[in-house]
Symmetry: C2
Subunit: 144 residues, 2 copies
C-alpha cells in the first residue's frame, strides 16, 4: 500500500486520517503542512515549508512549522535527515530507503532498498542492536 496515492483532490482526507491515526489534532496549520509534505515523496527544509505555505496565503508562524515537523517526526509521519550540517531536511517518505546526495546542488534523491544489497555487515557491539542504516551516496558532476 502506498502512502502517496495518486488521487489529488483528497490529499487532505488522507492527511486527516493519518493525523487521526496518530492521535494528532488536525488543526488548520498541521493540515496544510501535512498536505504539502505528504502529497508526494520529497525532501523539504523548515524554511522551504514556511515559504511555500506563506506564498500560498497560509497564516503560519515559523515556530508552528518547527513544532509541527518535530511532532510529525516523533510520530513517524516524516523522517528528519542530517546530510549536511547546515540544516535539517524532512523526508515525507518514511519507508526504509537510502539517498543520493548531489553535493554541488544539495539535491537529495531516494534510493529504494532493493537497489542496495549488503553482502557483509559488522555485528553491532554487545548490548546494542541495529536501529537503522543511513546510507548517503555522495555525487559530484562527472569530470568528462
Amino acid at each position: 500500500m502506498d502512502a502517496f496515492a495518486s488521487s489529488s483532490q483528497d490529499i487532505a482526507a488522507r492527511c486527516q486520517r493519518r493525523l487521526a491515526d496518530c492521535g494528532i489534532r488536525p488543526t488548520a496549520q498541521r493540515m496544510r503542512i501535512a498536505s504539502l509534505l505528504l502529497a508526494e515523496p520529497q525532501h523539504l527544509s523548515a524554511e522551504q515549508i514556511l515559504a511555500s505555505l506563506r506564498r500560498a496565503g497560509a497564516r503560519v508562524s515559523k515556530a508552528t512549522v518547527y513544532n509541527t515537523l518535530n511532532l510529525f517526526a516523533s510520530h513517524g509521519l516524516i523522517r528528519q535527515l542530517s546530510v549536511d550540517g547546515a540544516r535539517a531536511w524532512f523526508d515525507s517518505n518514511v519507508d526504509a530507503h537510502y539517498h543520493f546526495h548531489d553535493v554541488a546542488t544539495g539535491t537529495l534523491i531516494d534510493v529504494p532498498v532493493p537497489e542496495v544489497e549488503f553482502s557483509r555487515l559488522p555485528p553491532p557491539p554487545p548490548g546494542t542492536e541495529v536501529e537503522g542504516i543511513d546510507l548517503v551516496i555522495r555525487l559530484r558532476k562527472t569530470g568528462s
Copy 2:
C-alpha cells in the same frame, strides 16, 4: 602506513610534518589542535576541542578553532561528519571507513571498510559519479 604511529613523545613532530606537507604554517594554536586531534583516531566537536585546549592551559579562541578545523578539513587532514543535525563532528581518521552511531549516547565508532561489503549499488544518475559513501549504522540499547 599508519597516520597514527604509536610513539607518544613525537606526536608534535609528526603533526608538524603533516602540516608542512600541506603547506600550512605550523602556528602554536594549529599545532595544539593537530596534536590533540591527530594523536589517535577520534571524533571531536569544535566545542570539545576548545574546552580540552583551554583545560590544558592553551590560549586559543573559538574563532581559531573553527578556522583551523575548516582549514584542516579542506586539506584532507581531518573529515567533517554530519551524523546528527546538532553539531559537526571532526574525524581524525581520513581513511575510508564507516560508522556506528549510538543514538542514545551520541557515541561514534569507526567501522573499517572490509567489514562492509556491497553486493549491489545503484548506478549514479547520468552526468554524475560517486564521490563517496557515507554509511551510518544507528544503534540502540538492546531491549532484552
